[in-house]
């Protein structure tokens, strides 16, 4: 199986599991488990070759211009992590099939999607040999963990956000590191980056990048000072926690450290950050685990602490240390997966995870007890389990840590103390949950009633997924020589040099063995003396918890943001609208200053009519500025619109001019509909304000004139325009080049535009459905029956007569303009606007709003427009590409043929959307629907 097929298969598991879970609910876990286990077997079969030193590579182009590709690489390190990710993933999925509720089949689809997506993200992360790809998968794991935590109820929201904040910050820091690495080494290939010369040549730069990478990994692996999120995230269901802790999220950080290790190992900053943070976390995790009373909390702090050992060991950086770190990662994955699943079993069977309430499970749940003991002893480091060997070699590695012997001694002492704590809290788990030990008992606990009187052993399907990793911890401990080649290859990949692992269950009377025995003895003493030690441990280290600090920080940042936002906040529109113009003005002035000269003007002559058009523009626009009446202003601005249409005609833009003319007509009709609900006069403003706005306006107008003069008319026909003129007919069969651009060449653009029109119509109807219209402010002359002007039926007679004769003409004209658009001025826009004016005419001719014959289902017209345009696009897609016009000739009965093109179908979509917005306007604002306005609608009556 190729690596891309492997990655694709792990993605396919997502779809498969989602589909199955939608039908059968939690049993989909079995499918996912089988699929992931199958992939794990496939990967495992590559094991012997990889362990022998093979490396599998693959590359699929992705972003060739910046040389980023889906580069995949499978070496020893990736293989070990892949086995953990897929193997533990399969176990957790099988476990989910029993853990999740059997009720409500459809509730679990989201869970399965995010969990299997998590497995995919981790698969991609460990296979990635492109640092950009690695980053993408890194962020995907962040998102998966956020959604998995967040979907576990209302209480989960705050922890999920805190998790997201810390891991997203880590992601940003990693992005910075990635950018620096790519910029310095000039490649995005991961194994070329870590082998680059730059790292040895520039220690300061290396230290900077090393610290950034280390911080990113520390956030992901929940290491001090970012350790708080993992216990916080315990609100997620137990299988999620099991996967996050044993194989996924936190192991991503470990993998990053290992994979970057060849570049940074031996760098003092790298070593200092990792060893300090790791050992502090190990001690802190052990201490906090001893204080917790919830089994799941104990496990969470345990994970934090155990990962501390791994991080500190990676910090040592020698090949032996890296090998020990890989071994510890494997052993931790096995025992922590088992322990979490056991906690879930206890929780389900006994109704609580609180060790103050649990007692005597050993009598009822013997199998669970055996699993817990096996996994627990591996965690505590008891011979002959895998955890024992891992801890031996970690201690050995720390003892050898350079640069001075004192570093190694301090590190070993700290790690030993943390290991004692590990033994002690392992005892706490076993004694607290399974025996009648009452050292933590709380008889008056409020949750006491939740513990059922008779606790039963879990069904076999529930405990088998937990038993497998627990037993593996024993088997692999005994069969450790078999793991040597693979772990050696993994350590070699992490060290950047060939390495042969020498792991053994017993390697003679060494310092490590003595330490191990002392740790176990001290741990047992701590367990025996637990009641005397309890008061010491119960005292809080600090008056605040890490969560308090993070919450405080979060609130502080939000408060600072609110305060910063208040500077620019105003309830008035004008300041917001002024700022862009002022800045544009500044930009224009800078532009003039920077480039005072422009190219030569092509042709400065202009016909005398231009001056006339300028004068007409001035005559309509300038009085509008001074108008106090809304109606006068709207009419004057409408006049300006007609002058602009004349401008378009004069400039040779026939279609544009026609469109402008019709839109202007409809704009005036529309605005008048709105105006009857508004006061007759504009609001007044201060003179000083008018002076300021006038100044801004004059400067803006001046600069616009200068910009037009400087930036236009200084070149000949553009190459694009030239090409359209030459090719339009050949390409499209249309002679109206502007129309062919709209419906053939740039149809996607037009498609977006008709969608905008449809959305505008939907906004209109949604707003008016939610908010009441203001009442009409009917003018005096409209008083019903008082004068001849008030008799609407009589007054509209002339318009009705005209409309009756004009309607068929308008319809025919509209259809004609539509059909000929490809060849002559016309097309969907213009035809629809003509049709729209027909509707407007019908509306104006009606005696009252509600009797106007324009009550059309405009929402369906919008939908039809968008759907028809999309279908014509798909038709094109079938012929090559989306919206590609399909052409054929239709023979006409009277001879000749009509050159049909699917662009016409597309244009029909445009037509429907545009006509629909006019109908929407008349119906909604025109009062045709009789939508209830404000309470005092009949103000005048």
């Amino acid at each position: 199986m190729t690596l891309s097929a492997l990655l694709g298969a792990s993605l396919a598991v997502v779809g498969l599991t989602a589909a199955v879970s939608a039908v059968v609910g939690r049993a989909a876990g079995w499918i996912a488990a089988a699929a992931l286990a199958g992939l794990a077997v496939v990967v495992g079969m590559m094991g012997p070759a990889i362990a022998a030193g093979d490396v599998v590579r693959e590359s699929i182009p992705w972003l060739p211009t910046i040389d980023v590709a889906v580069r995949l690489r499978l070496d020893g390190l990736a293989l070990v992590f892949l086995l953990i990710v897929l193997g533990i993933g399969a176990l957790v999925m099988a476990y989910s099939a029993r853990y999740l509720s059997s009720r409500d089949v459809h509730r679990h689809t989201g869970y399965f999607v995010w969990m299997t997506l998590f497995a995919f993200a981790m698969t991609g992360l460990v296979l990635a040999d492109d640092i950009v790809l690695l980053f993408v998968f890194w962020e995907l794991t962040t998102l998966c963990s956020f959604f998995l935590i967040n979907r576990s109820g209302r209480k989960a929201s705050a922890p999920a956000v805190r998790t997201l904040i810390v891991t997203a910050i880590g992601g940003l820091i990693l992005l910075l590191a990635v950018a620096l690495m790519v910029a310095r080494t000039g490649t995005t290939v991961l194994h070329e980056i870590v082998a680059a010369e730059a790292w040895s040549a520039d220690p300061a730069f290396t230290a900077l990048v090393a610290v950034l990478v280390a911080i990113a990994a520390l956030t992901k692996s929940a290491q001090f000072p970012f350790h708080y999120w993992l216990p916080d995230a315990m609100v997620a269901p137990t299988p999620v926690s099991a996967y996050l802790h044993a194989a996924a999220m936190v192991k991503a950080g470990i993998y990053l450290l290992l994979v970057m290790s060849p570049a940074f190992a031996g760098n003092a900053a790298w070593q200092a950050v990792l060893m300090t943070s790791g050992l502090v976390t190990a001690l802190l995790g052990g201490y906090l685990a001893l204080r917790a009373v919830d089994l799941k909390q104990i496990m969470a702090y345990s994970t934090v602490g155990q990962l501390g050992f791994i991080v500190a060991t990676i910090g040592v950086g020698t090949p032996g240390a890296l090998a020990a770190a890989v071994l510890f990662t494997l052993s931790h994955a096995l025992f922590k997966a088992a322990l979490f699943m056991v906690v879930g079993i206890i929780d389900q069977q006994a109704g609580t995870r609180d060790i103050r309430l649990l007692r005597g499970l050993s009598r009822r749940m013997r199998t669970t007890l055996v699993i817990t003991v096996l996994a627990g002893l591996s965690m505590a480091g008891v011979i002959p389990l895998l955890g024992f060997i891992a801890k031996e070699y970690v201690l050995g590695a720390l003892l050898d840590a350079g640069p001075a012997p004192v570093v190694g001694i301090i590190a070993t002492l700290a790690a030993s103390l943390a290991a004692v704590a590990t033994v002690a809290y392992t005892g706490r788990i076993l004694l607290g949950a399974f025996t009648d030990d009452a050292s933590d008992d709380a008889p008056e606990h409020p949750d006491r009633h939740r513990v059922p009187p008779f606790i039963e052993e879990a069904p076999i399907a529930f405990w088998v997924p937990a038993a497998i990793p627990a037993v593996l911890g024993l088997v692999l401990g005994l069969a450790i020589p078999l793991l040597r080649p693979l772990l050696g290859a993994a350590a070699g990949a992490a060290a950047g040099e060939f390495y042969t692992a020498t792991f053994a269950l017993y390697s003679g009377p060494t310092v490590e063995l003595a330490l191990s025995l002392s740790i176990l003895s001290a741990g047992v003493i701590a367990i025996v003396a637990r009641r005397r030690l309890a008061p010491l441990i119960a005292r809080p280290l600090l008056p605040v918890t890490a969560i308090d600090i993070v919450e405080g920080l979060r609130r502080g940042i939000v408060a600072v943001g609110a305060r910063a936002g208040r500077f620019g906040a105003t309830d008035a529109h004008a300041p917001h609208l002024a700022l862009p113009w002022v800045l544009l003005g500044v930009l224009a002035v800078v532009g003039i200053w920077a480039a005072p000269s422009a190219g030569a003007v092509v042709d400065a002559t202009e016909p005398w009519t231009d001056a006339l058009l300028l004068a007409l523009t001035a005559i309509t626009v300038l009085p509008a500025l001074a108008a106090r009446s809304r109606l006068v202003a709207v009419i004057l601005i409408g006049g300006a619109g007609f002058v602009v249409a004349l401008w378009f005609f004069a400039l040779g833009a026939i279609d544009v001019g026609l469109t402008q003319l019709l839109v202007e007509l409809l704009t005036v009709v529309a605005l008048v509909l709105f105006l009857r609900r508004l006061p007759a006069l504009f609001h007044r403003v201060r003179r000083s304000r008018t002076a300021i706005t006038a100044t801004i306006a004059v400067v803006a107008g001046l600069l616009a004139t200068i910009a037009t003069l400087a930036l236009t008319g200084r070149r000949d026909l553009s190459p694009a325009g030239q090409a359209f003129l030459e090719r339009a007919y050949v390409d499209t069969g249309g002679t109206n080049i502007v129309n062919t651009i709209l419906v053939d060449y740039r149809a996607l653009d037009t498609f977006g535009e008709l969608t905008v029109v449809a959305v505008a119509g939907i906004v209109l109807s949604a707003v008016l459905a939610a908010r009441r219209l203001q009442p009409e402010r009917t003018p005096e002359v409209g008083a019903r029956g008082a004068t001849a002007l008030g008799r609407a039926t009589d007054n509209t007679l002339p318009v009705r007569v005209v409309a009756r004769w004009a309607a068929p003409v308008v319809i025919a004209l509209s259809a004609y303009l539509f059909l000929r658009g490809h060849y002559e001025p016309g097309g969907g826009f213009i035809a629809a606007l003509v049709g729209g004016t027909g509707f407007a005419l019908a509306y104006l001719g009606a005696a009252s709003d509600t009797s106007a014959p324009v009550r059309w289902p405009y929402r369906r017209l919008f939908a039809a427009g968008v759907v028809i345009a999309a279908l014509s696009g798909l038709w094109g897609l079938a012929a090559g590409s989306f919206l590609k016009p399909v052409r054929f000739d239709i023979p006409l009965p009277w001879g000749g043929e009509y050159g049909f093109t699917s662009a016409l179908v597309f244009d029909l979509g445009v037509y429907l959307a545009v006509v629909a917005i006019v109908i929407a306007l008349l119906n909604e604002v025109g009062g045709v629907l009789g939508r209830r306005a404000d309470d005092r609608e009949e103000v005048r009556a």
Partner: protein, 141 residues
């Protein structure tokens, strides 16, 4: 030159109107700005060639068809935006005012039918808070 002055006039007038008070004038300002920018786009294609671009038109005199296509869609989109903005002007209980009116008196004809000012939360624009504050301060018009 005339076209450049027309564009300057339209942009200047548009800017003046959008900085005024009340939604309708802001809309009219946007309409003028659209006109100005559309003419500018056409001008960018060159104003020396003015023959409508159809198949067979002499390329030496034909206007550039590409900006025309841009402007055509821009006009229709501007119409849609105008409709949406105007809708916001006429919902709620007050008129299309866009500012709190503690700067000047309120002397608009036809407003006397409004007797209360408790509808601050129902206003068509973001000025709701300002209006509510104004009414709390007991300012009347």
């Amino acid at each position: 030159m005339s076209l450049a002055l027309t564009i300057g006039l339209l942009i200047g007038a548009g800017v003046f109107l959008v900085l005024q008070r009340g939604m309708i004038r802001i809309i009219l300002g946007f309409v003028l700005l659209t006109h100005g920018v559309n003419l500018l786009l056409i001008a960018a294609g060159g104003t020396a060639r003015r023959v409508p671009p159809f198949d067979g038109t002499d390329a030496a005199v034909a206007a550039d068809p590409l900006p025309q296509a841009f402007v055509l869609t821009a006009i229709v989109i501007a119409f849609a935006i105008t409709v949406v903005m105007a809708t916001f002007a006429v919902v709620g209980r007050r008129d299309d005012d866009t500012e709190s009116d503690d700067t000047v008196g309120y002397d608009t004809v036809g407003y006397d039918t409004e007797s209360d000012d408790t509808a601050g939360d129902d206003r068509p624009d973001g000025a709701a808070r300002g209006a509510a504050a104004a009414s709390r301060r007991g300012e009347t018009r």
